[in-house]
């Protein structure tokens, strides 16, 4: 999986560092002062590095909890995200991380306790100041379609703050080595007014099953159609396996959510119907926390970077549109197409449990 392990001198003796170095004892283990010496340096090439990524163990300094981008998920009063890891062990061609970083190495911040302290401070009312708008989306906002109901279920209504994990990484994919959920699930269990959403495509659920369900933790699994998954999701567990994992979680009493994204504009609604039928034949829709659909979209500068990396990739060669700093793929009749897909979805779920992450008008095209 990794070509080498780098570790900061400051975390050399951290128990998580030591455990991971033991786990990967056969790999080159290289000490550095700061992870930024190796990660995201000028002229690094994400695509080349993705062939042989390294793991970097580091300490996270500075802000550890940030406001979630508008339209990211819940309609809750306080939505935040935190990233214990930068980059992902999977290789999804549509992923914005390719355009965000010049480096494909995975950085794992081992100081979970400091993240927990930062979350605690956020919970205790030291609200994030306005100038701390989401760093990647501060120039624009996503517009929610006003015709589509927004999710307002019990968990979010009762909760003061929602904390997303899995924005800059997959929350569970590295769990056997990182022990991320093993640390944070019990921590959130003791703080019922905080909601933790773990976004993932991983089937690494052993730790969750071992711990047992907590009402304020949601496991949100992403899905695309079978054809899209086969073409663009490299190294990701098969849809069947993901569904089997979700079913086990649901049977164990965990709150699970479905994220159908990113939806590509050439996706035939029939392919979505097939996916929905498969998904809802395996899961009990009555016990789903929430369901969302999101179109493929990427901050425009990340899209430009990604296009430079993958000029030979059909996905990025299609017509695009850029609106409010966000690039998406063009669809000639997007709203009608999306409604067709939503209609198919609403055969299986209560629309009250649904929200859409989508962009609207076009203002620049390529």
């Amino acid at each position: 999986m990794f070509s080498a392990i780098y570790f900061e001198s400051a975390v050399r003796d951290h128990p998580r560092t030591r455990a991971i170095l033991r786990r990967y004892r056969d790999l080159p283990q290289i000490e550095c002062e700061r992870y930024s010496e190796i990660f995201n340096r000028k002229s690094q090439n994400f695509r080349l590095q993705k062939e042989n990524p390294a793991l970097i163990l580091a300490r996270k300094h500075g802000r550890k909890v940030l406001p979630a981008p508008g339209g990211y998920g819940f309609d809750a009063a306080g939505s935040h995200y935190f990233s214990h890891m930068l980059n992902c062990i999977y290789d999804c061609r549509y992923c914005f991380l390719q355009g965000m970083y010049r480096s494909a190495h995975c950085v794992l911040f081992v100081n979970y306790e400091d993240f927990a302290d930062a979350i605690e401070r956020t919970l205790s009312g030291s609200a994030l100041p306005k100038e701390d708008a989401h760093p990647r989306y501060s120039q624009h906002t996503y517009s929610q379609d006003t015709h589509v109901p927004t999710r307002t279920d019990e968990a979010s209504r009762g909760a003061e703050q929602v904390f997303y994990s899995g924005y800059d990484c997959d929350s569970l994919a590295f769990e056997p080595a990182s022990g991320f959920a093993e640390f944070f699930v019990p921590w959130f269990a003791a703080r019922p007014r905080a909601v933790l959403e773990l976004r993932t495509k991983s089937t690494q659920i052993g730790g969750l099953l071992k711990h047992g369900p907590i009402p304020n933790c949601i496991i949100a699994m992403s899905f695309t159609t079978a054809a899209a998954a086969a073409r663009w999701e490299h190294g990701v567990p098969a849809i069947d396996k993901r569904l089997a994992a979700l079913r086990r979680l649901q049977e164990a009493g965990w709150s699970v959510a479905l994220r159908f994204e990113p939806l590509m504009p050439d996706t035939n609604p029939d392919a979505c119907r097939e996916l929905f039928e498969l998904v809802f034949s395996r899961l009990d829709s009555r016990w789903l926390h929430s369901v969302s659909i999101g179109l493929f979209r990427m901050p425009a500068d990340y899209f430009r970077n990604t296009l430079k990396l993958y000029p030979d990739e059909a996905l990025f060669a299609r017509e695009t549109r850029t609106r409010n700093g966000v690039t998406s793929l063009r669809h000639p009749n997007e709203e009608a197409w999306l409604r067709q897909i939503e209609t198919a979805l609403f055969r299986h779920i209560d629309p009250k449990n649904y929200y859409r992450c989508a962009d609207g008008e076009t203002d620049r095209e390529n």
Partner: protein, 294 residues
Amino acid sequence: MNATSEHPSLPASGGSEGTVNLAVAHRLEAERLIQWFGLSEIMPREEFPCFEDGEGLSLVVTGSGAERAAAGVRYLHGRRLGSAWLNIGIAGHGSAAVGTGLLIHRIARRETGKRFWPPAPGLKLPGGSLITVSEAETEYAEDAAYDMEAAGFFAAASRLVTPDLINVYKIISDNPAHPLAGFRRGQVPSLFGARESEIRSLVAHLRERGARFAHWRSLPAEYRQLLEKYHFSVTRKAALGKLCRRFTALGMGPRLTVLVSKRYHSAGALMAALEGELAGALPVGGKDSNEPAF
């Protein structure tokens, strides 16, 4: 120059696919490499002796020291474009046995404290740290390799190509038990000889990686044909490249060929035709082609 943008070593198509440039300090370090890879000297000989195999592998003998190494890299770059670079040479070490080969993961220049991080290619070769010094090391104070070129080499090469295509490989020639004073230059070829398979695998790895990198960024032959047929401004030339790449990426290469064979009254008219063809285009024959459009 940003090596990940348009680098002169990465031309429109072909040319530097899989090209690797080797840099060694001394002629004796080049001896086995010349023999293994069938290299011939590039004539006329100028400031630095250079060799090549005619198939994309070139070598420069830089001379001793970081500055000479950097100058040698720049010189070879001017004569033979390389998509990847490899520095090979002998080094002292604080603890490693004589004859050990080390793929260097970390380079520190003692004089300046500046550090460099060559990539770990996952080849399961023994690795280690290296300190580049300005005079031959005799103390071996740290558990690291010591050389006189790598920091200069890496700094210069990483201004030419992405650092993800630059490696440094050192063979230990001396250590506290076998100090430099007792080392004879004539031992160099045999030290290299014992590490032939490692060096070959590293060169092959860089050739493959460099070839893939060049291929990703290559432009279809139609691009060159169009440049010959029409006059393009610099801006339009770049836009033409992007359009041609989109045709290829979308599996519309045959359609591009047809358009190239037509005659347009200007470059602008051609560009408009290309853009028109691409409007609303979807990939041809992809795995998701069982999902009819809309």
